[in-house]
């Protein structure tokens, strides 16, 4: 985007710059230069992550569905673990990235970081949802019921609510910048609370010990199961980076559209 009409015959045109609301030359630099560099970098990275996702996913599915042996206790149903556990990992990973990106966005007013936090939330929510549903589908044959108030499942459920709250707050304001900042604070508050909630749920679970729970994925895990698990986790991670880059690109373009519209309205 070139600012061709920066100078007119009448002298420099004073325009409304969104970056200057927060004052300082440094912010203006960040507001414009940094997203531009991000656009160049992400355009190069997206195909690589897309390719890596497809390759790793194909390899992961091959290992998960064909090459790995059935578990001696859980039989073939152990194959659900290869989507369930990576999805649960990604749920935590996405929440952590969201909180870190929000912190960077709040402290340094870094626009790409703010957009990354915003773009991560729906991806994290999808992974959390998948972790819950696949956990339930795994629990039915293992525990005999669709849902058990197991400490881990309960924590993931609470994490899902935290994602929903983040996205609801993000979308509740007419001014998108306001929504991003408020949701950023919420992400940090939630991040501080996640260990406390986890601890309290574990505490609660030991008080109400369920009759008999088959432990999902015990501590001794055979390498024939570890390989599909790690390959699938790699595939999910690459998928996350692929989609987050695409979404942040979308956010940057949306903010450029807003800027152009403002300019057209204000002449």
């Amino acid at each position: 985007m070139d600012d061709g009409n920066e100078m007119s015959e009448a002298g420099p045109v004073v325009r409304d710059r969104p970056g200057e609301r927060w004052g300082g030359r440094w912010n203006v630099f960040n507001r414009y230069a940094n997203p531009t560099r991000f656009m160049q970098l992400s355009a190069k990275l997206v195909p690589w992550f897309a390719g890596a996702t497809v390759l790793l996913m194909a390899a992961g599915l091959y290992f998960a569905l064909f090459a790995s042996p059935p578990d001696y206790q859980q039989g073939e149903s152990v194959r659900i673990m290869y989507v369930h556990v990576p999805a649960a990992w990604m749920a935590m990973f996405c929440y952590t990235s969201m909180a870190v990106a929000s912190a960077i966005g709040l402290i340094w007013r870094h626009p790409v970081a703010e957009m990354t936090a915003k773009a991560t939330a729906p991806i994290g929510a999808c992974f959390t949802f998948l972790a819950l549903v696949t956990g339930s589908l795994w629990g039915k044959p293992m525990w005999g019921t669709w849902w058990v108030w197991d400490a881990r499942l309960t924590s993931v459920l609470v994490l899902f609510f935290l994602y929903l709250g983040y996205m609801a707050l993000e979308n509740a304001f007419d001014d998108p910048a306001r929504g991003t900042r408020a949701a950023g604070i919420l992400a940090l508050v939630g991040f501080v609370n996640v260990p406390i909630i986890k601890f309290s749920v574990d505490w609660w679970n030991t008080l109400h010990q369920p009759a008999s729970v088959v432990r999902m994925g015990g501590p001794t895990i055979d390498s024939s199961m570890l390989i599909p698990l790690l390959v699938m986790a790699g595939a999910f991670t690459c998928y996350y980076f692929w989609v987050v880059l695409v979404r942040v690109r979308g956010e940057i373009i949306a903010s450029r559209i807003r800027g152009l519209r403002l300019r057209q309205v204000h002449g």
Binding site: G165, L169, F173, R178, R181, A182, I185, L186, V201, W203
Partner: protein
């Protein structure tokens, strides 16, 4: 600074008392919600006694949340908040003062009403001290955590429902430890560890919340 702090607190309490019914709403909700449960699960004393602690804590938690939306709303809309933010009194102190006032007009009445409801719900007589202690430690934390949510939703569409969505997941530890304390007393187990955990959460909230809520208020006013 202390006089400014007390002034904000006194003003909020006076406003709440003048509105009368408004501040009683939380207690009325608490009572009605607790009365609904026996109608839902049946009047057998054993069943009620078993779930009384959970009902009391969940209802108290929801009641404490009800009036949160108004915590900063009125001051935000009429511009008082902006003036207070410009005054020498730090915004963190304003948050603490308003939370203290909120607790005085909602938390305290909830604690006062809880023994009566405990009788209705057939709570074990041994659990009463634990119930009062747990609520005394829980309700301030609920008001504190709620203040962050109330500050975040200022100016949002459908702030009330949104506030519930934001705050309720964060209330889970409070609920778990409060119910655990009351149940422990009923079963004759030591209550102290649960109460200490609740006290720890309260201390953490007192330290972290004013700072966070003030940051949330600043971005709402920016």
């Amino acid at each position: 600074m202390l006089s400014g702090f007390l002034e904000v607190m006194r003003r909020d309490v006076r406003l709440a008392v003048r509105q009368g019914m408004d501040s009683l709403m939380a207690v009325v909700f608490f009572v009605i919600a607790c009365v609904l449960f026996p109608l839902g699960v049946g009047p057998e004393p054993q069943t009620l006694a078993r779930i009384a602690s959970g009902i009391l804590c969940v209802a108290a938690l929801l009641a404490a949340m009800l009036s949160l939306e108004r915590l900063f709303q009125a001051d935000y809309e009429d511009g008082t908040l902006e003036q207070v933010a410009l005054s020498p009194l730090p915004l963190e102190a304003v948050v603490v003062a308003k939370v203290a006032a909120h607790w005085l007009v909602t938390g305290l009445p909830l604690i006062a009403a809880s023994p009566v409801l405990a009788i209705l719900l057939q709570l074990d007589a041994k659990s009463y001290p634990a119930l009062l202690a747990a609520l005394a430690l829980t309700t301030p934390t609920l008001s504190l955590i709620g203040a962050v949510g109330a500050a975040l939703v200022l100016g949002a569409r459908r702030g009330g429902v949104l506030l519930a969505l934001l705050v309720l997941p964060l209330y889970i530890p409070e609920l778990i430890f409060a119910v655990a304390a009351i149940d422990a007393a009923g079963f004759g187990y030591p209550v102290q560890p649960h109460l200490l955990l609740l006290a720890g959460l309260l201390v953490a909230a007192v330290v972290l919340v004013p700072w966070t809520a003030a940051a949330a208020l600043r971005q709402a006013l920016a």
